[in-house]
C-alpha cells in the first residue's frame, strides 16, 4: 500500500503527470498575470505615492516567492536527507535558480521603488539587507553544487547547507520590526488587511498568478533535470557496454 506522496514520487509517474499539468499551469499563469497587470493599471493610484506604488504588484509577489522558494528548497533538501529520494534532490536543485531569480526581481523592483520614495536605490536597512543575504544564500547553494563533480555528494552537501540556511527566513520575516524604514506588513495582518480592497484585489491576482508561474517553471525545470539524468545514465550504460566488449576504453 503506497501513500499518495510515494506514488507521486515515482519519476515515471511524475513525468507523465507533469506533462499533463504543465500546459494548463502555463496558460493559467499567463492569464492570471495578464488580468492582474490589467487590474493593477486600472486600480486607483495611491494617495501618497501616485502611480509608482504600482510596482508593488510585482515586488510583493516576488518577495513572497523568494521566501517560499527558499522554504521549498530547504523542505526538498530535508526530504532528500531523510528519504534519499532522487526526485527530492531534483526538486531542490531546480528550485534554487528560480528562487534566486525571484529574489533578484524583488531586489530590483524594490530599489526602483526606493529611488522615488526614499530618494535612494539602496538603503542598509534590516529588511533589504536580509533579502540580499537570502540572495547570497541562493548563490551559495548554486555555487556549492556546481563546484562538486560527484553528483550525489553535491546533492547531499547542498542539502545540508540549505537546511542550515533556513534560519534566514524568520530573520527576514521579523526584520521589519527592527526600526526598519521598510513598511510594515499590510496584507497578512491579523484581522482586516490595512490595504483597500480596490488595491488588494489586483495584488492577490498577481500573487496567485506568479505563484502558478513559479510552479510551472519549477515543473519544467524538474522535467529537464530528470531527462538530463536519464540521458547521462544512458550514455554511461553505453560507454560501459562498449568498454565491456572491447576490454579497453575507446578513444
Amino acid at each position: 500500500m503506497q501513500t499518495l506522496t510515494q506514488r507521486l514520487a515515482n519519476p515515471t509517474r511524475f513525468m507523465a503527470l507533469s506533462a499533463t499539468l504543465l500546459p494548463w499551469l502555463s496558460v493559467i499563469a499567463g492569464l492570471l498575470i495578464a488580468v492582474g497587470l490589467y487590474m493593477a493599471f486600472a486600480a486607483p493610484p495611491d494617495y501618497q505615492q501616485g502611480h509608482s506604488a504600482k510596482i508593488m504588484y510585482v515586488h510583493v509577489p516576488s518577495a513572497w516567492l523568494a521566501m517560499f522558494g527558499y522554504l521549498h528548497v530547504a523542505g526538498s533538501s530535508f526530504g532528500y536527507l531523510v528519504f534519499r529520494h532522487p526526485l527530492a534532490d531534483v526538486s531542490a536543485k531546480t528550485a534554487a535558480p528560480i528562487g534566486a531569480l525571484f529574489t533578484l526581481l524583488c531586489l530590483v523592483t524594490g530599489s526602483l521603488w526606493g529611488k522615488p520614495m526614499w530618494g535612494a536605490f539602496w538603503a542598509w536597512d534590516p529588511r533589504l539587507t536580509s533579502v540580499l543575504i537570502l540572495f547570497f544564500l541562493y548563490l551559495g547553494l548554486i555555487a556549492l553544487r556546481s563546484s562538486i563533480e560527484d553528483e550525489s555528494l553535491a546533492a547531499s552537501l547542498t542539502a545540508v547547507l540549505a537546511v542550515v540556511g533556513i534560519v534566514i527566513l524568520p530573520i527576514i520575516r521579523f526584520s521589519v520590526d527592527w526600526n526598519s524604514i521598510h513598511q510594515q506588513p499590510s496584507v497578512s495582518r491579523l484581522g482586516s488587511p490595512a490595504i483597500h480592497a480596490s488595491l488588494l484585489a489586483p495584488l492577490l491576482v498577481m500573487a496567485v498568478g506568479m505563484s502558478v508561474l513559479f510552479i510551472a517553471l519549477h515543473l519544467k525545470a524538474m522535467r529537464n533535470e530528470v531527462l538530463r539524468r536519464r540521458v547521462k545514465a544512458l550514455r554511461l550504460a553505453e560507454v560501459q557496454a562498449a568498454g565491456g566488449l572491447m576490454q579497453q576504453p575507446a578513444e
Binding site: 543575504i133 545540508v160 540556511g165 530573520i171
Partner: protein
C-alpha cells in the same frame, strides 16, 4: 572526554608550531587593518568613527583565512579517517576542532584588537566592549565556519567558495557585534541587549553547528 581534550590539544599544538595558522592569521589581520588608513587617508576623526567596524571586518576575513584548513590537512594526511573511526563521535570531533579553532584564532584576534585599535585611534573607553563582543562573537564564527569548512572540503577553489557560503551566515554576528560596540558609549543599558543576542547566536552555533558539520563530513568520507 579524554579523546576530546587530546584532539583540542593536538590541534592547538599544530596551530602554534612553525607553519601553523596563528602567525599567518595575526599577520593578515595586521595587514588589513594597516591598509585601511593608507587607502582612506590619515583623518583621525574618521578613523576613530569606523575603527570598531574595520576591526570586526578584518577579524572576519582573518578567521575565514584559517577556516578553510580546519579539516583539509586532516583529510590529506588521512587523520580524518582515523578520527571518523575513533572513539569520539563525528559531532565531538567537529566540536573539538571548532573549540581549538576558536582558541587559536578567535581569542588571539580579539585580544590583539585593542593594539590595532591604537593604529585606528579607537576611543579608549570602547576597548573593553570591543574585546568583550569579539570574545562573545568569535565562537559563532569558528563553529559556523566548521560547517562551511566541512562542506567545501573536496571542492576546487574551496577558499573562494567558503567565503561565499560563510559571509551570509556571519552577517548576524557582525551586525550585533558592531551594534553592541557602538551602543556602549551612549547609555548604560544599550550595550546589554545586542550583546546578549550576540552571545545567544554564539551559543546556538556551538550547540547546533557540530551536527550539520558532522553530517557534511560523513558525506565527504563516504
Amino acid at each position: 572526554m579524554t579523546a576530546f581534550r587530546q584532539l583540542v590539544h593536538r590541534d592547538l599544538t599544530i596551530a602554534w608550531k612553525e607553519g601553523g595558522t596563528i602567525g599567518v592569521t595575526l599577520g593578515f589581520y595586521l595587514i588589513v587593518v594597516a591598509m585601511l588608513p593608507l587607502s582612506l587617508g590619515p583623518d583621525l576623526n574618521l578613523l576613530s568613527r569606523i575603527a570598531a567596524g574595520v576591526l570586526w571586518v578584518a577579524l572576519l576575513l582573518a578567521a575565514l583565512l584559517s577556516l578553510g584548513r580546519m579539516f583539509e590537512t586532516d583529510l590529506e594526511d588521512g587523520s580524518l579517517d582515523v578520527l571518523a573511526t575513533g572513539p569520539l563521535a563525528m559531532e565531538g570531533v567537529v566540536a573539538a576542532k571548532g573549540l581549538a579553532h576558536w582558541l587559536a584564532t578567535g581569542v588571539p584576534l580579539a585580544v590583539l584588537a585593542p593594539v590595532l585599535g591604537l593604529l585606528l585611534n579607537l576611543p579608549v573607553e570602547t576597548y573593553g566592549p570591543l574585546v568583550a563582543t569579539m570574545l562573545a562573537g568569535t565562537p559563532a564564527i569558528s563553529f559556523l565556519g566548521a560547517i562551511g569548512a566541512a562542506l567545501t572540503l573536496r571542492t576546487r577553489r574551496g577558499g573562494l567558495l567558503l567565503a561565499l557560503l560563510m559571509l551570509p551566515l556571519f552577517v548576524p554576528t557582525l551586525i550585533f557585534g558592531i551594534a553592541a560596540v557602538s551602543a556602549s558609549g551612549t547609555e548604560p543599558g544599550a550595550f546589554t541587549s545586542p550583546f546578549l543576542i550576540l552571545a545567544a547566536i554564539s551559543l546556538a552555533a556551538v550547540a547546533l553547528a557540530p551536527f550539520a558539520a558532522a553530517a557534511a563530513l560523513r558525506f565527504q568520507l563516504r
